[in-house]
């Protein structure tokens, strides 16, 4: 086996191991969404539509919450779009690596680009220095499939689901994001981006609103890293 093939296999093994925890997140949070959707008055078909078409965890919960209090649809749609605007950063970050891929592949990968898929994909790119298309599909589908199956299960199972905080699973998502973020720190510029991104997000959540926190951190962090250490990278 050539060195490149061995490196690819090693990176893919790492991706699969890293994704195991993501599966747990998708199953638990997707299941709870199914239950929440049922409590909020959504039919099974509507819950499936939210998870398969909208396919964006936090905004799905927010939309159900707004539906419960009879918020008009345009307001709900606007909030959903604002909550998901951070995906622009994800897509822009990965885009230079996907530019040579066929349009259909880019369009498909874009649909699957959730927080978790971005985290797994960008870590994989960092290991290989290029996009690995099968791995990118895997990263996206590793969320989409369990998320949708568990939405159905959650809607059907209802109150039988355990409270995630009772078994410590409420920290798993944040732990996955933090672990993947730290794994991407390969130089001082990335370290500064991480630290300023964290600080900027916390400050924005405190001073402004939690809905803008991630965008604020995601924009300020790279700016600081680039400004301070561009010449050293």
């Amino acid at each position: 086996m050539s060195g490149a093939a061995a490196a690819l296999n090693a990176a893919r093994r790492r991706l699969v191991v890293d994704s195991l925890g993501i599966w747990v997140i998708a199953i638990i949070v997707g299941g709870i969404f199914g239950f929440t959707a049922r409590q909020g008055g959504l039919s099974l078909v509507e819950a499936i539509a939210f998870s398969s078409i909208l396919f964006a965890g936090a905004s799905q919960y927010a939309a159900v919450g707004l539906l419960v209090i009879n918020t008009p649809w345009p307001s709900i749609a606007l909030l959903v779009w604002l909550l998901n605007a951070r995906h622009l950063l994800y897509s822009a970050s990965i885009a230079p690596y996907t530019a040579k891929l066929p349009l259909k592949v880019r369009a498909g990968l874009g649909f699957l680009l959730t927080d978790e898929a971005f985290a797994l994909t960008t870590a994989h790119i960092a290991r290989l220095g290029r996009i690995d298309v099968p791995a990118a599909w895997y990263a996206g589908l590793t969320i989409f499939i369990p998320w949708n199956l568990s939405t159905i299960a959650g809607w059907l199972a209802g109150a039988a689901l355990p409270d995630p905080s009772s078994i410590g699973l409420d920290v798993v998502f944040a732990a996955a994001m933090a672990g993947l973020a730290i794994g991407l720190v390969k130089d001082r510029a990335a370290l500064v981006a991480l630290v300023v991104g964290c600080g900027g997000a916390v400050a924005a959540a405190l001073v402004l609103d939690s809905s803008v926190a991630i965008m604020a951190g995601g924009l300020l962090g790279p700016l600081a890293g680039l400004t301070l250490f561009r010449r050293s990278t």
């Binding site: 749609a77 990965i94 230079p96 410590g168 933090a178 991104g197």
Partner: protein, 110 residues
Amino acid sequence: MITDLFSTDLVPLAILGGLGTYAARALPMLVPGIDRLPPAVLEYLRLIGPAVLGAIAAASVFVQDGVFAVGPEAIAVSAGAAVGRWRGNLLLGMVVSVLVVLTLRATLGA
């Protein structure tokens, strides 16, 4: 009960929300010429990963009900991230986070 299962009244709302979400996720990847951006822009894009993932984690554990807090969740996530980085194993870090938060909650009664 059949209505509860198969009602489609809210499917258009899912599509409406999905359209804007898809635009955010896909448009930068569908724009031609993005691989020919200036090096500084490409470097900025590279740094988005650690910044935005860290931002997600930090905003979810260090801000509780609109107030800065270093509670069991923040300690657990920080400890898990450190262990994950040290051992090069994300899954181990996540397990550590769960164990630490359970331990702290049991100890502190949080």
